[in-house]
């Protein structure tokens, strides 16, 4: 275990590993204490709400990590449309390949989803804040403000990350079309031309 992990992070990481192994319903404070090589007393000091708080924070922590990885993956994109394309391709794949998420969605959706719905408000704020500086550098259509456009784009991104609907988000050509039309046609003065 890397030495720079704070105690709190060490507990959260152990909690995530326990959820991966036992699921949300069966993970106990004892399991997490054992997995993190810490005492139960220490865990309760960091998570006074016990099991419930610990699991809630594990979900919030992994959600934050997921979107942190996403932000990192797209930060080097050459322009705003490409950034959104990369974000959709990356996030779609990352959701499909997230084994713990897929397992819990399959076996315990009733425990995970209410929590993720609470998290989604925070995620929206995170995506919006991430997008605003990029939008401030673009030429926006008349009457469109960066904040407003960021909120609109963030909402659609999150919606498509959850479910691709009639689109195939593993196909770069379709993703480019989606970004050019639904996400950005009302936002940018110049949207990328047809491929």
């Amino acid at each position: 275990m890397p030495v720079d992990l704070t105690v709190r992070e060490r507990i959260l990481e152990a909690g995530f590993a326990c959820v991966a192994r036992y699921g949300l319903a069966k993970t106990t404070v004892e399991d997490v204490a054992r997995a993190s090589s810490l005492s139960r007393a220490t865990l309760y000091r960091y998570f006074p709400g016990g099991r419930e708080q610990l699991l809630r924070d594990v979900i919030a922590w992994e959600t934050g990590r997921f979107f942190g990885r996403l932000a990192e993956a797209v930060a080097g994109a050459p322009d705003f449309p490409s950034l959104l394309e990369e974000a959709l391709l990356f996030a779609h794949r990352a959701v499909e390949e997230h084994e713990v998420l897929q397992k819990v969605l399959q076996t315990e959706p009733e425990r995970l989803l209410p929590q993720l719905t609470v998290e989604s408000e925070r995620i929206l704020v995170f995506i919006r804040r991430f997008l605003v500086p990029y939008l401030e550098r673009e030429e926006l259509r008349p009457d469109v403000e960066p904040e407003e456009a960021a909120d609109y784009v963030a909402r659609l991104l999150l919606s498509f990350i959850g479910n691709q609907g009639r689109w195939d988000l593993s196909d770069p050509a379709q993703v480019a079309e989606l970004v050019r039309t639904e996400l950005l046609a009302g936002v940018l003065v110049n949207t990328p031309s047809d491929p």
């Binding site: 009733e110 209410p114 407003e148 909120d151 909402r155 609907g165 050019r180 039309t181 046609a185 047809d194």
Partner: protein, 198 residues
């Protein structure tokens, strides 16, 4: 619409369903019993079991079906009355948002029993919702945008209604006509032009 045709429930069933919706809005799905519903509907327990032999589960299924019928026939009416594409989109969004936001039973369940409803509509299961809405709305959009892109456009607008209704924004309220119109004019119509142009 075919949805509200021959399989429309009888008046006695509807009375039970309406009573059950009032109970759920008050106590939630978990705590509502068939006894509660019988009392609320002023009907005997035996009658409820005759109408819904499967008990509470069958009643819940019937509620879902009739509420969806009601939603879609209300939506169809708004679509039929809209003179052009912009009004069709605005009217559809406003109606759908209000139908969700003002549905007391649904709002109670979302707030206090989210574990009952979210697993049926999130991630992969969102297909169910998006597909149903876009299949229903596409024929109304097709004359304006073309039959090939209509399903996608319907799905796009459905996504907007869902996100702005379930996670309300500070300055956008799709249940408000003026606000919905601004959203449609600013972000949707330009996108439609670029979609249809191809």
């Amino acid at each position: 619409m075919t949805l509200v045709g021959s399989d429309r429930v009888g008046t006695q069933e509807q009375r039970v369903i309406d009573a059950a919706l009032r109970c759920i809005a008050r106590w939630g799905i978990g705590k509502t019993t068939l006894d509660d519903v019988a009392r609320e509907a002023s009907i005997s327990r035996a009658t409820i079991y005759r109408l819904f032999p499967g008990g509470k589960d069958a009643l819940l299924e019937a509620i879902t079906r009739t509420e969806l019928d009601r939603f879609f026939s209300g939506l169809a009416q708004r679509f039929d009355e809209a003179p052009d594409l912009e009004d069709l989109l605005v009217a559809g969004m406003v109606y759908a948002c209000r139908a969700l936001a003002c549905h007391e039973a649904l709002q109670f369940v979302l707030a206090y029993e989210p574990e009952v409803v979210l697993p049926k509509v999130a991630f992969h299961h969102a297909d169910r919702v998006l597909t149903a809405i876009s299949a229903f709305a596409a024929p109304y959009l097709a004359p304006h945008v073309g039959a090939d892109v209509a399903p996608r456009v319907a799905e796009w607008v459905a996504r907007l209604v869902l996100t702005y209704t379930l996670a309300p924004a500070d300055n956008v309220d799709v249940g408000d006509e003026e606000s919905a119109r601004r959203l449609v004019r600013t972000f949707v119509l330009p996108g439609l032009e670029s979609t249809v142009k191809q």
